[in-house]
């Protein structure tokens, strides 16, 4: 399973309570769609650290990195490639 699918599966399972992959687009904004609140983003960061063995710095905790499946995948790719 690629990064996008892993992240999407987690968001669907934990915030939308469904396994229907079409319920969330990869560019859908979590904040605009009211899917995840600010504390929920920390939960997503926890998931990324637990799943991809990476560490997120305070200055990286910005919406551009975590507000959609594609944003997260790009961030994870950047971190794991570093």
């Amino acid at each position: 399973m690629n990064i996008e699918d892993k992240v999407k599966e987690y968001i669907l399972e934990n915030y939308l309570f469904t396994d229907d992959m079409s319920a969330l687009g990869n560019d859908d904004s979590f904040i605009e769609k009211g899917i995840i609140d600010s504390t929920g983003i920390l939960e997503v960061i926890f998931f990324l650290e637990e799943t991809f063995s990476l560490a997120v710095e305070d200055d990286e905790m910005v919406p551009e990195n975590f507000d959609s499946v594609n944003n997260i995948a790009a961030f994870v790719n950047k971190k794991t490639a570093a």
Binding site: E13, N14, F17, S38, T39, F46, F47, E49, D58
Partner: protein, 648 residues
């Protein structure tokens, strides 16, 4: 379940008195109202109070082997006795009963001390081997069934409950102050200690060998976790969920073995719902369930219970517990717990087992243990969040995740930040500390000790944290922090309180046997090899259990926010600022001073605060229940000793 008792003199020329032994058995008659028996020969005596569940006619105890050289008095159930008996008969052993108990003596003949490793069950066993002149005292792996002993220069006395041992005392016992100090920190004394000076418990998973006055202790089983990341069990989530599913069905199936009907507790939470759905979908047993409802809506789970009852079509009975019920039944509850408690939660559990008895049932399945085994408790979430925070303890954001667990925390304000640092931040710089997970809970609980009298404080010489740290296995620091938290939770709160004060004692007070499918050692050994993230995926508790068993349940049960089981504490006792007479008397300055454990002035101020309706916090509740239950304990077991116990 049943009750066992016994005496062994170290000098073989001494003789056990059958009268004394049967007085011990009489003290635990509530554990076995269906009959009693004993075996006495010279310096050994084994007694038994029977609750008949398997082989109703032929299962009288103590039971012996073919040549009467091995005798056993047994409390509990061996759930795999059918398979063991078949195997032993194949090896030529002859059985004279249909009971599970008889398997023990033949298994012992076959395997010696190692026989215990073949048992799948919950038990306290006293086994006398005449030829070896040896007594074995064995307790099940988890400590579901209690077993206490007292060793003196002349003899060793043992029993299922302390009150049975007290019936052999000439003088009233005294409170083990160090054990009280531990209880008011960890919720229970560190095993093998008990609240009674000089009386110990056989620890969970332990076998004592007693020969010629010497006691040899052997830990035959303990929780164990992988040392390194690569040692966790492999396989996809689906495969592992499938394995867990099959194991739970089998552990439930063998726990339905009985010659009397078996019911089930139904709380409305995930764990009991899983068990009830297994009974419904995978057995022919009649689905008979029992639950508690509370007058206080904040504690009540009836709507979830009703949803499941409707979903499965269970034949259900419920008891509604009022605040007054808790206050009215508190003293008798402490008689059965034999230890102070920090919450009233055992009281409704005793009322519930009374309902089961009233409905003609003797056995119930319960969901106890799922949270410890499969990662359900908030303390595990708290530990994960604090570890997440500890990765960068200066982070302005990470601690905010605590809001997921405690939505009322106002983290944005300066005061909120300070509170976080002071409370959840305790030990945040030492994430590798063995008991990192439990520090905030223990420090909060220990606030009860502010009420200790100066005299008691001056007598406490040991640091409880050192005692519990020394009780932990040497390999524990190598385990994943989540597994460390699981171990400590299983050995402290579960083993020392949930399975005892809130478990066995409340069930057996009404002669009811509880059975715990999630505490089948095969389930635990499987779960202990699962990576922690399969137990709690980020903050989604019991993730793999939901994946394995969710298909049988209504989605609102699977997705509901976990509600811990609670009963009213101070609210149960204070009605418009008026406390019951017995509470007033036990907490009066003169009684508090006379018993000597607590500071009379401070206790008085707490009582005044309660009367004014100002004591609403967690700490006030724990302190009040802790002080009141200690005072009751003293009255029952020390002050009223001569009235309650036969004296030589």
């Amino acid at each position: 379940m049943c009750g066992i008792a016994g005496i062994i003199y170290h000098d073989a020329e001494q003789h056990v008195s059958e009268n004394e032994l049967m007085r011990m058995v009489a003290q635990i008659a509530h554990r076995g109202p269906d009959g009693s028996g004993c075996y006495v020969k010279n310096n050994i005596g084994l007694g038994h109070a029977r609750l008949s569940i398997i082989d109703l006619e032929g299962g009288r105890q103590p039971i012996h082997n073919e040549d009467h050289s091995v005798w056993v008095s047994f409390n509990g159930e061996i759930f795999n006795f059918v398979e063991l008996k078949r195997e032993l008969e194949g090896r030529g052993h002859r059985f004279y009963t249909q009971s599970d108990t008889e398997v023990i003596v033949h298994l012992y003949e076959e395997y010696g001390d190692a026989f215990v490793n073949h048992l799948n069950g919950q038990f306290a066993i006293a086994l006398w081997d005449e030829q070896k002149n040896t007594l074995l005292l064995i307790r099940d792996r988890l400590g579901i069934v209690p077993l206490f002993y007292q060793q003196s220069a002349q003899r060793l006395v043992f029993a299922s409950e302390v009150k049975s041992i007290l019936s052999t005392f000439e003088h009233s016992p005294s409170l083990n102050l160090s054990a009280l100090d531990q209880l008011m920190t960890f919720w229970s004394p560190v095993s093998p200690g008990s609240l009674f000076e000089g009386i110990s418990e056989v620890s969970p998973g332990e076998m004592l060998t007693i020969k010629n006055g010497e006691i040899h202790c052997q830990q035959y089983w303990d929780w164990a976790f992988p040392d390194a990341e690569g040692e966790y069990r492999g396989g996809s989530e689906e495969q592992l969920a499938g394995e867990l599913h099959d194991l739970l069905i089998d552990s439930t199936r063998i726990r339905l073995r009985s010659d009397v009907p078996v019911g089930a507790y139904l709380s409305g939470g995930l764990d009991s719902s899983v068990l009830v759905s297994i009974i419904h979908n995978h057995s022919d047993a009649h689905l008979r369930t029992f639950s508690i409802g509370f007058e206080e809506s904040g504690l009540d789970e009836q709507s979830y219970q009703d949803g499941l009852i409707q979903h499965l079509g269970a034949d259900h009975s419920r008891i509604i517990c009022s605040n007054r019920d808790v206050a009215d039944n508190f003293v008798d509850t402490i008689w059965h717990t034999e230890a102070p408690v920090l919450r009233t939660a055992p009281v409704p559990m005793r009322l519930l087992s009374g309902l089961v008895r009233q409905q003609g049932y003797k056995v119930v399945l319960t969901g106890e243990g799922a949270d410890e085994v499969l990662g359900g408790y908030d303390i595990f979430k708290e530990t994960k969040i604090r570890q997440f925070w500890a990765k960068n303890s200066d982070s302005s954001f990470r601690a905010s995740l605590l809001k997921r667990l405690y939505p009322y925390l106002d983290i944005s304000k300066r005061q909120g930040q300070a509170y976080l640092k002071n409370f959840f931040g305790m030990g945040i710089e030492q994430p590798d500390l063995a008991y990192f997970s439990h520090l905030p809970r223990w420090i909060t609980t220990a606030k009860c000790k502010d009420f200790f009298s100066d005299d008691l404080k001056s007598k406490l010489t040991e640091n409880p944290y050192d005692i519990i740290e020394n009780s932990l296995p040497k390999v524990l620091p190598r385990w994943h922090y989540f597994n460390r938290a699981q171990y400590i939770e299983a050995k402290s709160l579960m083993g020392g309180y949930l399975l005892c004060s809130q478990g066995d004692r409340m069930l057996m007070a009404n002669s009811i046997e509880g059975r715990f499918p999630f505490l089948d050692h095969r389930v635990i050994e499987f779960a202990n090899t699962l990576h922690p993230k399969l137990k709690m995926k980020v903050l989604n508790e019991k993730f793999l259990l939901k994946k394995a068993m969710g298909k049988y349940l209504p989605s609102n049960i699977v997705k509901r926010y976990k509600q811990p089981y609670r009963a009213p504490d101070i609210a149960a006792f204070s009605h418009g600022g008026v406390l019951p007479d017995y509470v007033e008397e036990l907490l009066s300055e003169s009684t508090v001073r006379r018993f000597g454990y607590f500071d009379p002035k401070r206790t008085h101020l707490l009582v005044q605060k309660i009367k004014k309706g100002r004591a609403i916090g967690h700490k006030d509740n724990m302190a009040f229940i802790g002080i009141l239950s200690t005072q009751i304990w003293h009255r029952l077991f020390i002050e009223q000793f001569h009235e309650r116990f036969s004296v030589k």
